[in-house]
């Protein structure tokens, strides 16, 4: 008996308007668990042999929405979005909270696999066994807030028309895109609940390319049965108890104390496109957020004890009507300090606009900062931008975000994300602009610098990660801490759970065993399962295409900026140590059984049972070894 899973996946071919139910072999589920790990398997099997030709924004790409066996059981439900990433041309597993995952699991499914491209805008509606592709022309073009309002009202009407015997229907789970996704921006997010985003990877753009405006789901069943119910319930109680009793600061301020705290304490916060990483600007303190803009102090997703989100709204003044959560640390950084904005109101306003447009706050904030530095240096002018892009001006940045989402003027280039924009603008301006692009393999770096050495990401965190700049999956050597190694972080993305509720790594493996009945040890996870997933992700990242390819000798590298000495703060003068970086990098490759260029060796792949991956990688080895 399969525990912890429904054992069913919805398969939707939008080109042919075909819906079917897919079962995935128990052996495969055991070997890949769910979420990001399972995504790597599905993508490898279905697209691996033609990977280089697959356009991430074309109909041949797959869009995956996958839960894991722990989703809904482990407190704080999330869902993992994946596919071939339009940012890295590899695979990114990008997770988002909200009520979608729980509804999907209760509808009787573990995930959704979308292929093809609809002829006109559609949305997918799921109510248990009833699945329908519905017309979305009336919401195509709508921003986030309007999209949710319409979809909730429409779905409730639908539900009571078709299943009226039930009494009042509760709101459904909704994933959707805004204009940025519709216009196939590579930095568009898959959104949920106003402000929740699966941003890394650019899957909002993939949804847009498929003309899939939203997925709406209502489930009426219970979660699938588990192997050891008593144990699961006691683990839930334990996670909740610790989260509530011992993590009160986290609960009270969420990640929202970061805007001031991380800059001041760790000198690792992006400021004006990472020109600095330290600030002591108390106008951006957590107290200012708490007392001026938070209208709800605890906001969380299904089953969450921590409720680390805070709801912000601005009710008067020039930014009236702005709504977002927190903003969380990443958005305080990327849509605050990184743009030279140090007022909670300005920050909430820009975050609210970016959310509503369906842009990823991290990728978006990174490219906005990049553009503003070019403006500061006179490389981009008012004529290029149509805007005086002064640091610290929320209205100017919101205007540019809008141009990006609608691909207007310069926005058409910036919508491609920082890396591609830097390539294009370098050509146009005939100077090398890559040194201002703070990204890794097309993916903007999370708002945690490595120069000061005081924050959590290791020195190889972004340069070597198969997820590029993703701060929730950093490459590192240490295994016993969730936040230092992607082999551990990968578990949260595969389980699929919220890592903000994980305070003890062991909970995860205990949970997995209690839910599934599988005795998967930590060692098996590190040495086989996670290693296998990383090898597949690595292989497909190196295969790349069709527009961009990565050469590990060049691109397994930190952004240039991280080698510039920090200009201010207690760690002034400190920069990333190149030698240390190179040493750690080769140690990391060695630990994983990869060669000196970070290509998994034949021996390693055979041990992992990935002979077919080895065959494909031979092509890359030939290319690199011979040049």
């Amino acid at each position: 008996m399969l525990y912890g899973y429904n054992g069913k996946f919805i398969e939707v071919d939008l080109s042919n308007e075909k819906i079917s139910i897919e079962k995935i072999d128990e052996q495969i589920l055991r070997e890949y668990i769910g979420g990001r790990a399972l995504a790597s398997k599905i993508l490898w099997d279905r697209l691996g042999n033609k990977w280089e030709e697959v356009d991430p924004l074309g109909p041949e790409n797959l869009l995956l929405f996958l839960t894991g066996p722990l989703t809904g059981y482990f407190p704080g439900a999330r869902i993992c979005v994946s596919g071939k990433s339009p940012q890295s041309n590899g695979i990114v597993g990008s997770t988002v909270g909200g009520n979608f995952a729980m509804e999907l699991r209760c509808a009787g499914y573990d995930g959704i696999i979308v292929s093809g491209e609809a002829k006109k805008p559609v949305y997918l509606f799921i109510k248990d066994d009833f699945i329908e592709i519905k017309d979305a022309s009336h919401i195509w073009g709508k921003r986030g807030i309007d999209t949710i309002k319409i979809l909730i009202n429409e779905t409730l009407k639908d539900l009571s028309n078709k299943w009226s015997w039930k009494g009042l229907w509760k709101d459904p789970g909704i994933l959707y895109i805004g204009p940025a996704g519709e216009n196939k921006s590579r930095i568009a997010a898959v959104m949920s609940k106003w402000s929740h985003a699966a941003g890394y990877g650019g899957y909002g753009g993939v949804m847009g390319s498929k003309k899939l405006k939203a997925v709406v789901v209502k489930g009426s069943n219970s979660l699938p049965p588990v192997a050891n119910k008593e144990k699961v319930l006691s683990l839930i109680a334990e996670v909740c108890r610790v989260s509530i009793q011992e993590k009160d600061d986290w609960r009270r301020w969420g990640t929202g104390y970061g805007g001031y705290g991380v800059g001041a304490d760790t000198s690792s916060e992006p400021i004006r496109n990472w020109q600095e990483e330290w600030h002591d600007n108390k106008s951006f303190g957590v107290d200012k957020f708490e007392e001026r803009v938070w209208i709800k102090r605890y906001w969380g997703d299904d089953g969450c004890p921590t409720t680390c989100l805070k709801l912000s709204a601005i009710k008067d003044g020039e930014f009236k009507g702005a709504i977002t959560d927190n903003p969380d640390y990443e958005l305080q950084a990327y849509l605050g300090t990184n743009l030279g904005i140090f007022t909670p109101e300005g920050n909430v306003y820009v975050a609210s606009v970016v959310d509503d447009l369906g842009l990823c706050g991290i990728q978006g904030g990174n490219v906005l900062g990049f553009a503003a530095e070019l403006y500061q240096r006179g490389i981009l002018t008012k004529k290029d931008l149509g805007i005086e892009l002064e640091w610290g001006n929320p209205k100017a940045f919101a205007k540019l975000a809008e141009k990006i989402a609608y691909r207007k003027g310069i926005g058409n280039i910036l919508a491609e994300g920082t890396y591609r924009a830097a390539l294009k603008l370098s050509k146009r301006k005939k100077i090398d602009l890559m040194k201002y692009a703070v990204q890794s393999k097309g993916i903007a770096i999370g708002a945690h610098g490595i120069r000061s050495g005081l924050d959590y990401p290791p020195i190889i965190a972004y340069a070597c990660s198969v997820q590029g700049g993703d701060h929730t999956s950093v490459a590192g050597l240490i295994r016993e801490e969730l936040w230092k190694c992607e082999l551990s972080m990968l578990f949260a993305d595969s389980g699929v759970v919220c890592s903000f509720n994980v305070f003890k790594l062991d909970w995860l493996w205990d949970f997995l065993e209690a839910v599934t009945g599988w005795n998967i040890t930590k060692e098996e996870w590190y040495e086989k399962i996670a290693a296998r997933v990383l090898a597949i992700q690595r292989a497909l990242l190196l295969l790349g295409g069709p527009d961009i390819y990565w050469d590990p000798r060049i691109h397994d590298e930190n952004p240039e900026r991280f080698y510039e000495p920090l200009p201010s703060g207690p760690k002034k003068g400190k920069a990333t140590d190149k030698e240390d970086f190179l040493k750690t990098k080769s140690e990391y490759y060695k630990t994983l059984g990869w060669d000196e260029y970070g290509i998994p060796t034949s021996e390693t792949l055979n041990k992992l049972g990935l002979k077919d991956v080895d065959n494909v990688l031979q092509k890359i080895r030939n290319k690199i070894y011979s040049s």
Partner: protein, 175 residues
């Protein structure tokens, strides 16, 4: 036994839905949000409304039931559902000013909060989390009719909360 009542402060609800989990575990033995006697409505994100029976003093649901499947527990004042007698006609839903009773998602009977016989599970988790959106209080003894003011639909409650939380523009959005 002192009659208890579940007091609520909607504006404090975090939307964690742990109460749904606790309630369904207690009454169904499973994590089953749709079979929870308390349900959190999020008709607008950020405005979460815990929706559960208020034990109206005149019990219109009980009155409306054609088969006497509903009765009032004298000790707790909660509405008890006799699953055998319930014919799933939905008349109690129509009679309830808040449309609070709902059909069990897979079985043919109505479900209504029974106050867990005086020891509400939903309140425990909400209190454990210190959200304080739900707490137990003595059943109000003044004007019992004011209890009934809480028996409103999630739509109605959301409208008022939307004005309070986001401002008046949002009030109009709830259909």
């Amino acid at each position: 036994m002192k009659q208890i009542w579940i007091a609520r402060d909607y504006s404090k609800c975090s939307g964690c839905r742990r109460c749904e989990i606790a309630c369904s575990l207690k009454h169904e033995g499973e994590i089953w949000p749709e079979a929870s006697r308390i349900r959190i409505f999020m008709l607008i994100p950020g405005i979460e409304v815990p929706h559960l029976c208020v034990q109206c003093p005149d019990y219109p649901c009980v009155e409306a039931c054609p088969t006497n499947a509903l009765s009032i527990n004298k000790e707790t004042s909660a509405v008890e559902v006799d699953k055998e007698k319930c014919i799933a006609c939905g008349k109690c839903i129509d009679a309830c000013p808040g449309k609070i009773p709902h059909m069990h998602p897979t079985k043919k009977h109505i479900i209504i909060c029974n106050l867990c016989n005086g020891d509400p599970e939903c309140v425990k988790v909400c209190q454990e989390g210190r959200w304080n959106a739900l707490w137990t209080a003595p059943r109000p003894s003044g004007s019992l009719l004011s209890i009934k003011l809480y028996a409103r639909t999630p739509q109605e409650i959301t409208k008022d909360l939307a004005r309070n939380i986001y401002g008046e523009e949002f009030e109009k959005e709830v259909k």
